[in-house]
Symmetry: C2
Subunit: 478 residues, 2 copies
């Protein structure tokens, strides 16, 4: 097998150059291609089908919790974007502006949505009248545009695909419940579907969303020790409601402002999958997110009976998992490398000897373990092994997260860790933006979140030595 592997172009080792390894994987696994539009990528079929799986899994969870999908316009008039002061300040510097329709200059510039709070608020102000109209639990799948200077496939692109939930509630309590409900759904989804463990917490004032009262986040850790924000959920209080005049008549016939939330995850998640599970042979996909869970590779397929048997197995298993039978005339070794690169969780090999022995060979992508399984037991064995891979990937990722999570009591300790063994650093913080600024300037790390699970590591801020208010997860981030 070693020699066969050479048939497929090698990729850079992640230990040699992590950024190059990442780019190699996204291109060689046929996830994306670069486009002629600077900073925008093409989602190729294999990359897009991972997104379709993410959409299906999240959509089910959203609908089970009473959310409905809608679609708002792609454009936002400049005057509408400006209605909420903090919001426009946060987004105006990075939006793309439409100035002309055909050959005519527009009377008012339109931006391509960088996020749709203003459009949802505008709509809510028209359709919400009474407490009977609440809550409104809307979600939208779409693409958004932010004019970033430096870009990288999935992680930061000028256009990206995402979902944005926007809800309106009668009370502050309900809005807060919704904010946390959706954060928990994201966390559960990341762990159970993507096999990515996350730290849940609140963003600091400096890091919160433009216009939010509070932003909550799930943060994960990549192979290289850098953090990735996987999803956020914002509580807006009644700030947007006041800016957009979204009022309803309550049961006592009094006018009240609604309380709102928004929450989103994006195609960044595909970047997280790559950097949490991938290895030097390419992508490793958790079965629950994989477009193809099992690939069947016939061995010596020109020999009588092999292809017939492979097709029979393919037919038997097609209702049990997402599978592909590769009966092309490429060599098995080439196929092995190709599907390893693409991160297909499980490979089934079937050759003349296996047929003789009424067996098949299963090879796991995650740990390369081989298992010989009776042909009669496939319907049980395949789901069992896939579930085991899913579980194994989550455990491995949990172990990595634990391994790369450090704690520091002093700035010196903090700096040493960030320079020598990058990862999450737990450290006490006084709550001041000045300390956040200092940390960022001197180390490049930011406050990833104030985790829900607090520990009292000391009584003093590691940066300024004043009284500590929170334990914070710090790290360099994508």
């Amino acid at each position: 097998m070693k020699d066969d592997k050479k048939l497929v172009e090698e990729i850079t080792s992640m230990h040699e150059d992590f950024a190059k390894w990442y780019t190699d994987v996204v291109l060689k696994a046929d996830l994306v291609d670069y486009s002629s539009v600077g900073g925008c990528i093409i989602f190729r079929p294999y990359g897009y089908s991972i997104w379709e799986n993410i959409q299906r899994e999240l959509n089910r969870r959203f609908k089970e919790t009473g959310h409905e999908n809608v679609y708002m316009p792609l454009f936002i008039p400049e005057s509408l974007l400006q209605k909420e002061k903090d919001h426009v300040e946060g987004f105006a510097p990075e939006v793309a502006w439409i100035t002309h329709g055909g050959s005519e200059e527009l009377t008012e510039r339109l931006c391509v949505r960088p996020t749709s709070e203003t459009l949802f608020c505008d709509h809510y102000s028209k359709i919400i009248h009474s407490y009977r109209d609440l809550p409104k639990l809307y979600n939208q799948w779409c693409s958004v545009v932010r004019w970033e200077k430096t870009t990288r496939p999935f992680l930061r692109t000028r256009e990206f695909l995402w979902q944005e939930g926007h809800t309106a509630h009668a009370t502050a309590e309900e809005a807060q419940e919704e904010t946390i409900r959706m954060l928990n759904i994201y966390a559960e989804f990341c762990e159970n579907v993507l096999a990515i463990p996350v730290v849940k917490g609140r963003k600091t004032e400096r890091e919160k969303f433009a216009g939010a009262h509070a932003t909550f986040t799930i943060e994960s850790l990549m192979h290289d020790g850098k953090a990735l924000q996987c999803g956020t959920s914002h509580n807006f209080g009644d700030g947007f409601a006041k800016a957009f005049d979204i009022q309803y008549t309550d049961k006592n016939n009094q006018l009240q402002y609604v309380h709102q939330t928004s929450w989103g995850v994006s195609t960044r998640l595909i970047g997280a999958i790559i950097m949490v599970h991938g290895d030097d042979s390419g992508l490793v996909l958790p079965p629950n997110a994989a477009p193809i869970q099992l690939v069947i590779v016939p061995i010596a397929q020109h020999k009588p009976g092999v292809l017939e048997k492979a097709r029979e197995i393919s037919g038997r298993l097609s209702g049990i998992c997402r599978l592909k039978l590769d009966d092309s005339d490429k060599m098995p070794g080439w196929k092995f490398s190709e599907y390893e690169m693409k991160g297909i969780p499980l490979r089934l090999e079937i050759g003349p000897k296996d047929i003789e022995n009424n067996q098949v060979v299963l090879v796991r992508r995650d740990n390369r373990q081989k298992e010989i399984v009776s042909m009669d037991d496939l319907e049980n064995a395949i789901p069992r092994v896939l579930a085991d891979i899913q579980k194994g990937l989550l455990e491995k990722a949990r172990a990595m997260l634990k391994d790369k999570t450090y704690s520091a009591k002093t700035f010196a300790e903090f700096e040493k860790i960030i320079n020598e063994t990058p990862g999450f650093i737990k450290a006490m913080w006084c709550g001041s933006s000045e300390c956040e600024e200092t940390v960022k300037e001197k180390t490049g790390a930011t406050a990833r979140c104030i985790p829900f699970e607090q520990e009292e590591l000391s009584q003093k801020c590691f940066c300024c030595g004043k009284e500590a208010r929170h334990m914070v997860y710090w790290g360099k981030a994508y």
Copy 2:
């Protein structure tokens, strides 16, 4: 029931003012709302879920025929749009232009995609090398933007949702086969899911897509006698391949240009559903496209046992059809009108007397027929009645299409029909653009298609009297 109906605001009668009736239905049935962005609409949950059903049904058909979904950038650089001469001439006058990213002026203008041929071609030129890479059968679900002057919800909006298939083939024959295969899929989908019969045919040179060798279309007829183009499928030959240099090495090691197709349907289809099936009480949805197929309305729901029974029925039927139980405290008459407006195909009424008699009352939306059904037979009765409604709507639409299809041998006959009884007019045509121009100028009608099913109505062009080459379906169109 008559009196109860007044509880819901009446809509304009379609015979009084068809355009006003249409607008009333799209707003009162909660399909869309107007937005602050001129010419763009908001898809509300009910309207969007019809689109989700269309997507699911078409996606299944696309995947069964080997197509894969991808996602291309939202933007097209001006230089890329200009690569195919006819294409840019067709689209440049109606695109929206991005000139600034944040505060910086772009070095090259980008347009928001009006359609994505140029992006797919650019990508294909990079990834197609050998005959082994063919065919490429890609599809994309997205929104596109065309800066229209006059707009109407679903029918013509500046942004609309659609799918666009783009394929590349080794030979002209394969491309032609694909073009017709997708047209047939559209026609089958329209008839079986939307209950809309269509006329299949080829567009004239004047009406074909900018850059296509040939455009094929499915045309349907609305209640008011106007035609609606429901979907198109284009054969590009090797025109785009030559403009974008998409070549492959064939089995004999010779360089060849690929042959391409593209095909699309859009949210216009929702407009077609409204105008083919709707009536003066509002929307009428075919069960196969309806977000909610059955609404359960409890009668005298404060009486003991009624709500319990309604919930029990809802539970029994929830795996059988898409249903909603309305146990709100609104009056039954209000609910009847509301769900008639929303076009829900079937209503199930359950009250104390029904419970006594172990029965329910079913009321069809399409013809208002009532049927009393035994409580024990619901699992059979509901699918039977829904299938019957689906079939009935298609038959009714077929009868309307037949009724409103006329034929004319002379220009005088043609004019009389178009003015007195609008619909499709079958008439012979010489093949010249001049006659098309004359017909359009004098009557407002255009050549909808040269149908596959030809008839020889006479030997002369109805317009100029010269030798006829084709029988054409003419009509005024949306």
